[in-house]
Amino acid sequence: MKVSTLARGLLGAIKSSAPALTRSHFTYYPTKFSKGSGEVQKMNMFQAINNAMDLALEQDKSALLFGEDVGFGGVFRCSMNLRDKHGNDRVFNTPLCEQGIAGFAIGVANTGATAIAEIQFADYIFPSFDQIVNEAAKYRYRSGGLFDCGSLTFRVPCGAVGHGALYHSQSPEAYFAHTPGLRVVIPRGPIKAKGLLLACIRDPNPCIMFEPKTLYRAAVEEVPTASYTEELGKAEVLREGKDVTLIGWGTQIHVLLEVADLAKKQLNVDCEVIDLVSILPWDTHTVCNSASKTGRVVIAHEAPFTQGFGSELAAYIQEKCFLRLEAPVKRVTGWDTPFPHVFEPFYLPDKHRCLSAVKEIVNY
């Protein structure tokens, strides 16, 4: 069942807008929970994340949650009511200082306590880039394994939202993928978000979860209320096909699923759709299996073309599956321009551009 994305998650308290004004570039494809049968509840992505953090704070008494405006719910409402429930010594606001938040979180995690830090927008993460890349990622290595800050998780809203312009839309996953020692994941919906977040919180490495902010409200699924984790470093084949492999993550998955439908209908092309889920480390096995099977790979992401994470995938696939490939690996991405304001619909790798890439790769 497709759920139309009428609800544009408009940053925080603004309610969903009317259909006529929707400029959403994707149609949401919900996931069904496959692991066992527990109690489920309808949740959107911010509620699922809220639920995950609630469980984490409950189960791990050392866990702390902090960030800008997190105390009263955060701009995306992910931490709603958690301060009331777990106390303001565990859930609290920080000043507006991303570098400090990151450093502070690393210190907390170094003592063995669990730190869940929110950077309000991925676009604001760059002041803390030094702390994350030079401190968090290398702590274990440089102390000869004596200290690490493994119980550290950053939650970072990212991606296009329809109107975010330059500093509220970027997807900086590739910057962090360049850093050994980190884990980077991106969920495509509520079920995945909850499982991944709990996995990140428990994982003994510093983790960053980039959360596509447009999904906070637009994505609704039946989410298990109990605790569960998703495997880190594991891609997921969402649809099997024999002709073309489509690889993406986050919001782009929903674009690709629609493209698979369109390709089937318009071109009679069978697409295999893979949600990479984990950017670092990424699942070479699943990707290369699929690439060897179909011989044609299209990678799509919102971040710009040059040195986007698609570059790494393409290089790897071409090295490992060279003799199986029927066409060069294709990348459909945001353009090598700053993230535009009114031109966002043209910038994004939407279904039309992706479908045209499928056409081209089939006719290569």
């Binding site: 570098q99 312009a165 321009t337």
Partner: protein, 485 residues
């Protein structure tokens, strides 16, 4: 007028008047005098609006109301002398008033709403709340002069900013402005006061609450509102949207909290190197004051004695967190450590102007300085923040009623006889029309052609084609050369 006099304690204190109330006695005003004021006013306004066609304020009826004013003056003088005594008693412990101060009130009060005459062309006023100083022996002048032209100008500017922000808020609610929108309502006196002190060689850089600054730095209301709606007449041609507005000497417009402060120090460095006598105002909020790079900028600026005024516009809330909860030291003017600082009432446009004048002189002779303007924002942090979950509606109401920068300035000018109520009305009408017209225009103005998505990414493009545009074959385009080249 009677209504406003009950609030005299909130008004800046008039110590004396230079060119004083013209006519306590009937017939003292000559037609020549009135005419000359009218002319000045006109010139001032056509200058203000940059030749915009709707700029005329009608002051022609100044002359015909004189007799009216004069005859009223004598009627209630007894009543007012009693009032005068009461006021003098209640404030005697703090200061003494000259006769002319009350004479002024008397005239203004008696003429009431019908009054359209100009009583004074210049007044001397003491700022409302005293400056606080950090590592400074001497502070800004607390007694400032205000001419009629200036009064009209500041009132028009503040009122335009207020209107612009109201229009922006409405456009946002109508979903015509998308994305982000941070309103300046309540903080107008900060920008107008600073701008009033700035010279042509001076620069300013600020954060994301900049619609007002953009207007003050020479962009028309259409340029501001069309930018917000993403239309081609916007000052960044719709390519920046909210937060990203620029004009010569105004370096933006910055969406990243605190990131503009070191840039401002850099602009100051350039001023010093060029030796052009200019300086840079680097503005940030109480929230951004906790960003590490602000302190890095302080340090370098002090080390190199750069002409930079670091201005912390303290509106008490960094997004949804009150300053007390976010800052260990909420005396932001002292946070430069070795840097001297001034605290100034940011709701008082004259205090801000005086402090900025002092600071400009100081930074050009001694080096950087921190200035905290204590102010308040009426709206939430951005449009997605209702602004009431971390403060009470009563608190906002109280500031609106007691400290509003526009109302208090307007009332003071009327009391002083610098502006008449008719002039106020005329300005209000003109501003409303200008902003309404701009709003209507911004709603219908076209967006740029889509090719502008990839223009001006780089200068002197080394590659002819844009990479990664699957399905398209696009040339790099450089369209504009920056004003700094």
């Amino acid at each position: 007028m009677l209504r406003t006099l009950s609030r005299v304690s909130e008004l800046p204190i008039v110590v004396k008047q230079l060119q004083k109330v013209r006519n306590r006695n009937a017939g003292a005003v000559t037609n020549n005098y009135v005419v000359s004021i009218t002319n000045n006013t006109r010139q001032q306004h056509s200058k203000l609006t940059n030749g915009s066609s709707s700029s005329t304020i009608n002051n022609n009826n100044n002359g015909c109301n004189i007799s009216n004013v004069n005859s009223n003056n004598n009627n209630n003088s007894k009543q007012w002398s009693t009032r005068q005594q009461q006021l003098q008693i209640s404030y005697a412990s703090r200061r003494s008033y000259s006769k002319s101060f009350f004479g002024l009130f008397q005239s203004a009060a008696q003429t009431g709403i019908a009054k359209t005459n100009n009583y004074a062309t210049e007044a001397t006023i003491e700022v409302n709340r005293p400056f606080k100083l950090h590592r400074l022996d001497e502070g800004p002048a607390t007694t400032v002069k205000l001419t009629k032209d200036e009064a009209l100008k500041y009132y028009t500017q503040m009122q335009t900013i207020r209107r612009l922000e109201t229009a922006a808020g409405n456009l946002y609610k109508e979903k015509i402005i998308r994305g982000f929108c941070h309103l300046y309502s309540g903080q107008e006196a900060c920008a107008v006061g600073m701008k009033a002190a700035m010279r042509d060689v001076d620069n300013i850089i600020s954060a994301y609450r900049v619609h007002g600054w953009t207007y003050l730095m020479g962009v028309s209301p259409i340029g501001v509102l069309a930018e917000l709606t993403g239309a081609q007449s916007g000052c960044a041609r719709g390519k920046g949207g909210s937060m990203h507005m620029y004009s010569p000497n105004f370096f933006g417009g910055n969406g990243i909290v605190g990131a503009q402060v070191p840039l401002g120090a850099g602009v100051g460095l350039a001023c010093k190197y060029k030796g052009n006598g200019g300086m840079c105002l680097a503005l940030y909020g109480d929230g951004a004051a906790n960003q590490g790079q602000v302190f890095e900028a302080y340090n370098m600026a002090y080390l190199w004695k750069l002409p930079v005024i670091f201005v912390c516009e303290n509106n008490n809330y960094g997004m949804g967190t009150s300053s007390e909860r976010a800052s260990c030291n909420t005396d932001y003017y002292t946070r430069g450590d070795a840097l001297p600082g001034i605290w100034v009432d940011g709701m008082d446009v004259l205090a801000v102007r005086s402090a900025t004048e002092f600071a400009i002189n100081y930074v050009n002779t001694h080096g950087p300085l921190v200035m905290e303007t204590n102010t308040y924002r009426y709206s939430g942090h951005s449009m997605s923040d209702p602004g009431t979950s971390y403060r009470t509606r009563e608190e906002i109401q109280e500031v609106r009623q007691k400290r509003d920068p526009i109302t208090s300035f307007k009332e003071m000018c009327i009391e002083l006889g610098l502006i008449t109520t008719d002039e106020v009305k005329a300005i209000d009408l003109k501003v409303r029309k200008e902003v309404d017209d701009a709003t209507a225009f911004a709603k219908t103005d076209a967006e740029l052609a889509v090719s502008h998505l990839w223009t001006d990414v780089s200068s002197n493009n080394l590659e002819t084609k844009i990479r990664g545009t699957v399905g398209y074959n696009l040339d790099h385009i450089q369209e504009r050369k920056g004003v700094n080249h």
